[in-house]
């Protein structure tokens, strides 16, 4: 099992850098074992450097950069071992428009092998939907939903 962990770690490390470069348009990322000789118990450090920036403390990244870095790591895991389902609840909230487009493009690709349910307030994100459900509370405190076309979204969102 030590070997399986080692393989998983090497695969994830490599995929993470790959996905990071896709989502950030460059830069580099790495996963580092705190204790190289003890993969059964070692903690995992994240190194993330957006394009053109100098290597720094992960904490100094911006809100959007941190979110995108997390998503890169999680999506890297998905590419290696797809889950049948992925639910994202307002994952796009801290992202600017350019990053929402990269995020959406990646989800579009991952959705070949995974059913995605994406909760969002953002109209850019809605554009990649194959289906849209609008949830409303006409009767206060009681939820109902309707299937929507993209053009119906205006009424539900307001």
């Amino acid at each position: 099992t030590k070997r399986r962990l080692r393989e998983a770690y090497n695969l994830l490390k490599e995929k993470f850098d790959e996905v990071f470069k896709t989502l950030f348009g460059g830069g580099k990322a790495d996963l580092i074992l705190q204790d190289e000789d003890n993969i059964l118990e070692s903690g995992i450090d994240i190194f993330a450097q957006p394009p053109g920036k100098k290597n720094q403390n992960l904490n100094q990244l911006s809100g959007g950069e941190k979110a995108l870095t997390s998503l890169a790591l999680l999506f890297a895991g998905f590419l290696i071992k797809p889950s049948p389902l992925c639910i994202l609840d307002e994952a796009d909230a801290p992202l600017d428009e350019t990053n929402i487009e990269r995020f959406s493009t990646m989800i579009k690709n991952l959705s070949k092998n995974t059913q995605f349910i994406i909760i969002t307030h953002n109209r850019l994100t809605m554009q990649i939907a194959d289906y849209i459900y609008g949830v409303t509370m006409e009767e206060p405190g009681v939820s109902k939903y309707l299937a929507l076309q993209f053009s119906d979204v205006e009424n539900t969102v307001n």
């Binding site: 903690g43 995992i44 997390s70 071992k81 194959d130 849209i132 459900y133 009681v142 939903y145 969102v157």
Partner: protein, 171 residues
């Protein structure tokens, strides 16, 4: 495997039965603040076996039962059903020409009395039986398949040891 549908009855703000068919690809859920979108996410967590009321934003598990509104009385029970298609001998969704997929309906109920019920294809079972099925499908409530902003920021903010699950789940 493929998820066909989720039904919410008396679950949080979904007082009356709400059935959401789920398709391949990407389904977006939209609507104003407080209309019930995250409650649907909670329904997935709950039917997949979530045991912590706190994770579902409550102090007690009983709080997932519709508690009433200005115009509707509280319900006595919450129920969520998840209908899945299990494809034998394959972990992709390809409709290979081998056997027909098995249709499985997982149901969880909670009564105000505190009593819980778990059902597979409408027949009573134990929580353990539901968990065994889910383990096979890779649909585990603990996995990183259900992501809200908290969980996403936890990845970068967490301690190095808390991130081990990332390689452990892949191995």
């Amino acid at each position: 495997m493929k998820i066909k549908q989720i039904d919410l009855i008396g679950f949080k703000s979904f007082a009356e039965k709400a059935s959401f068919p789920l398709h391949n690809g990407i389904t977006c859920i939209v609507g104003p603040n407080g209309c019930g979108k995250s409650n649907i996410v909670d329904a997935f967590r709950w039917v997949l076996g979530e045991q912590s009321a706190k994770t579902l934003r409550g102090d007690k598990m009983e709080e997932v039962i519709f508690q009433g509104s200005a115009t509707k009385k509280p319900k006595a029970m919450a129920e969520v059903s998840l209908e899945i298609l299990l494809y034998p001998n394959s972990d992709t969704k390809s409709n290979g020409d081998d056997k027909e997929p098995d249709k499985i309906i997982l149901t969880r109920r909670l009564y105000r009395s505190g009593e819980s019920e778990y059902l597979i294809n409408k027949k009573s079972c134990r929580l353990k039986d539901i968990r065994d099925i889910l383990l096979d499908t890779g649909l585990d409530v603990k996995s990183y398949s259900i992501l809200d902003q908290q969980r996403i920021s936890d990845i970068v903010n967490s301690k190095p040891h808390e991130r081990r699950f990332l390689i452990e789940e892949i191995a």
